[in-house]
């Protein structure tokens, strides 16, 4: 009840950014880079423990980007050059040029390492099939449907491996899902393939879209928990979920990840309380709007701290444990 968590990514420490640059230029060995990635994971696990987060993430220290990372580790891709997503932010958009295959597990080792450092649950983290399709160039498959379903198969394999490795929470992010309401059925079909037979609690994070266009149909997405952003729009999107009633568990984003300012506790509390009038407190988790990787490490920590403090006080006021 009102467990705190994070969406996924954390800012990379300076030494890791430097190491990744050196690695890209061939000046650093893959072993050395990995050592530093594991160090950064350890620090981020410690930080979340210290702040008092309930369900942890490993911070995606080994990933440059949530689609490119998988493209680099699966078969079938050429990596493209940079494209801009907003402001001065660029990413390497994958190009599918051959059938998509998974030669070996990609996320399991990092998950296992992170989980070995804490008694609290760590989430297994993946990017969903619809988003992988939407955020890739497609030069091979005949259409978006074929590409999305091909991704669903390999992501399912990875999810099964994560579960075998002990993951109690598996998150399959679909930030692109609100992009084309007319393709929601495809996204749901693909997710059905991904989560088929899993016993772990499954979560999907969705952001940057008009939820009104996909609600209530999004409740058919075959996952246990939907993770949505609210702070970014100052909770104005809360009304959408009043009718019909939200039937799943929900993870509520209560701090904006694109501002340097740290939200004050009272605002977070007020917003959370507003949300608890719409959602059943028993089915609510609390987190930032999105991955924190674009913040500084200090800002990321401060934002999590505000969440934990606000949740603690709200729980007390509501007499919740």
């Amino acid at each position: 009840m009102l467990e705190t968590t994070s969406v996924g990514s954390f800012p990379k420490p300076d030494y890791l950014i430097k190491a990744r640059n050196q690695f890209a230029k061939g000046e650093l060995s893959p072993e050395k880079l990995k050592e530093l990635e594991l160090q950064a994971i350890k620090e981020v696990i410690q930080m979340q423990e210290e702040v008092g987060i309930d369900i942890l993430v490993h911070g995606e220290m080994e990933r440059g980007d949530m689609t490119t990372y998988f493209a680099e580790n699966w078969e079938g891709f050429a990596i493209s050059s940079l494209v801009r997503s907003y402001g001065n932010r660029y990413y390497r958009k994958p190009v599918v040029v051959n059938p998509v295959k998974r030669p070996k597990p990609v996320t399991v080792e990092y998950y296992k390492y992170a989980q070995s450092l804490t008694k609290k649950p760590v989430k297994g983290m993946m990017t969903g099939p619809y988003t992988m399709c939407d955020w890739s160039f497609n030069e091979y498959y005949p259409n978006r449907e074929a590409l999305t379903l091909a991704f669903a198969e390999v992501i399912h394999q990875e999810a099964v491996d994560l579960e075998k490795a002990g993951a109690r929470y598996i998150q399959i992010d679909e930030p692109a899902i609100s992009t084309r309401p007319d393709e929601l059925d495809l996204a749901i079909r693909a997710m059905k393939i991904v989560t088929n037979g899993l016993k772990a609690k499954t979560i999907s994070h969705i952001c940057y879209g008009d939820f009104s266009t996909i609600y209530p149909r999004i409740l058919d997405l075959p996952v246990d928990i939907l993770d949505l952003e609210f702070a970014n729009s100052n909770f104005s999107n809360l009304d959408i979920f009043k009718k019909p009633k939200f039937t799943k568990m929900i993870s509520i984003g209560v701090v904006d990840v694109h501002t340097h300012t740290i939200e004050d506790k009272e605002t977070v509390k007020q917003n959370l309380k507003k949300a608890l009038q719409v959602f059943d407190p028993e089915k609510v988790l609390v987190d930032p709007d999105c991955g924190l990787k674009t913040r500084t490490p200090e800002e990321a920590k401060a934002k999590l701290k505000v969440i934990v403090e606000a949740v603690k006080e709200v729980k007390q006021e509501f007499g919740l444990k």
């Binding site: 493209s80 050059s81 801009r84 160039f137 694109h258």
Partner: protein, 327 residues
């Protein structure tokens, strides 16, 4: 004879290591490690390169690549009274985000937004530079209205401001002014408002007036949009292939920009594919009334793909003319 053009934006950074690197310069600006002069130099070098590249490829009517623009709406919105710039919002169905303008009070003109940019670009180009602005309806629709509680009133007020901008662009020498109205594809019921606003934005403009639609369907906009003083109508026929039928089923008195090259996927169109399209269109509309272009701005593509696509487009047009139109 067929002509070629582009829709608007163009990749800001090149994979060529020797090219001006605007991304680095803007990163340095965030860290306050670059002088305003040096940053301006990088902007100018980038714009000149982008113009040069389009001219080298042989595009007939070019743009400045909207190199100083983060997105379609904030360059205008930040120069308006009554508007603040808000949070990131998805730009239609793309993995691209814009900062949403928030309308706090009545909007009014504060500064020209694009006139200096146009003058700089035209001064460094031999081909005509097309000035591109967001259409009034799209500008209104992509904003968060906290004042008017009326899309109609906001759109018409914005149209008046855009008209002031357009007039100044014309005074500065613009031969082509384009308004982008993607939002209208998704809200065709607002066509009367949008067209009234577009006419207002183009009031007393004598250069070529272009209205461009990308991403969505134009089915419900025809034939109404033909009944205007617009000179050129541009349509993305890639995102919605059925848009091509809409064009075939209507009688054009206007000129047409046919957005045939997928500016959102790296897969290169074959010449046969393009010839097929050119053939169909030139059978219906006189070639001299047609401009061939990418489906939308090229910034969704990595730089080398954008250049490759543009080259392929211009070559296909040339070859088609030689082989089929005997020009």
């Amino acid at each position: 004879m067929l002509k070629t053009t582009v829709v608007g934006n163009y990749p800001k950074i090149s994979s060529d290591k020797n090219a001006s690197n605007l991304r680095n310069a803007l990163n340095l600006k965030d860290q306050r490690k670059i002088s305003p002069e040096k940053l301006e130099e990088t902007f100018q070098a980038t714009i000149k390169r982008v113009i040069q590249e389009q001219e080298d490829v042989g595009v007939d009517i070019i743009t400045d690549g909207q190199i100083r623009w983060d997105d379609l709406v904030t360059p205008i919105a930040k120069n308006l009274n009554g508007v603040e710039i808000g949070g990131l919002t998805r730009f239609f169905d793309n993995n691209v985000y814009y900062r949403r303008p928030i309308v706090k009070s009545k909007v009014s003109f504060k500064n020209y937004s694009t006139v200096d940019q146009f003058e700089f670009a035209q001064a460094h180009a031999t081909k005509p530079v097309k000035a591109v602005l967001p259409g009034p309806f799209t500008l209104a629709k992509l904003s968060l209205d906290q004042h008017y509680n009326s899309i109609d009133k906001l759109t018409l007020d914005l149209a008046e401001i855009l008209n002031q901008e357009a007039k100044e662009l014309e005074k500065a020498g613009a031969k082509f002014i384009q308004l982008d109205e993607p939002s209208l594809c998704y809200n065709p019921e607002k066509i009367e408002l949008a067209m009234k606003a577009v006419e207002k934005a183009f009031d007393k403009i004598n250069c070529k007036k272009i209205l461009y639609f990308y991403f969505g369907s134009v089915k419900s906009l025809f034939p109404r949009i033909l009944d205007t003083s617009i000179d050129v109508i541009g349509v993305d026929v890639v995102s919605k292939p059925e848009n091509l039928n809409v064009i075939f089923n209507n009688d054009f008195k206007q000129e047409l920009i046919l957005g045939v090259l997928d500016a959102r996927n790296t897969k290169i169109e074959s010449e046969e594919e393009l010839f097929g399209l050119f053939d169909k269109v030139t059978n219906k509309i006189r070639p001299e009334k047609i401009y061939i272009s990418p489906s939308c701005g090229l910034e969704f593509l990595p730089h080398e793909s954008a250049v490759k696509k543009l080259k392929g487009m211009v070559e296909a047009v040339k070859n088609f003319q030689r082989e089929f139109l005997f020009e």
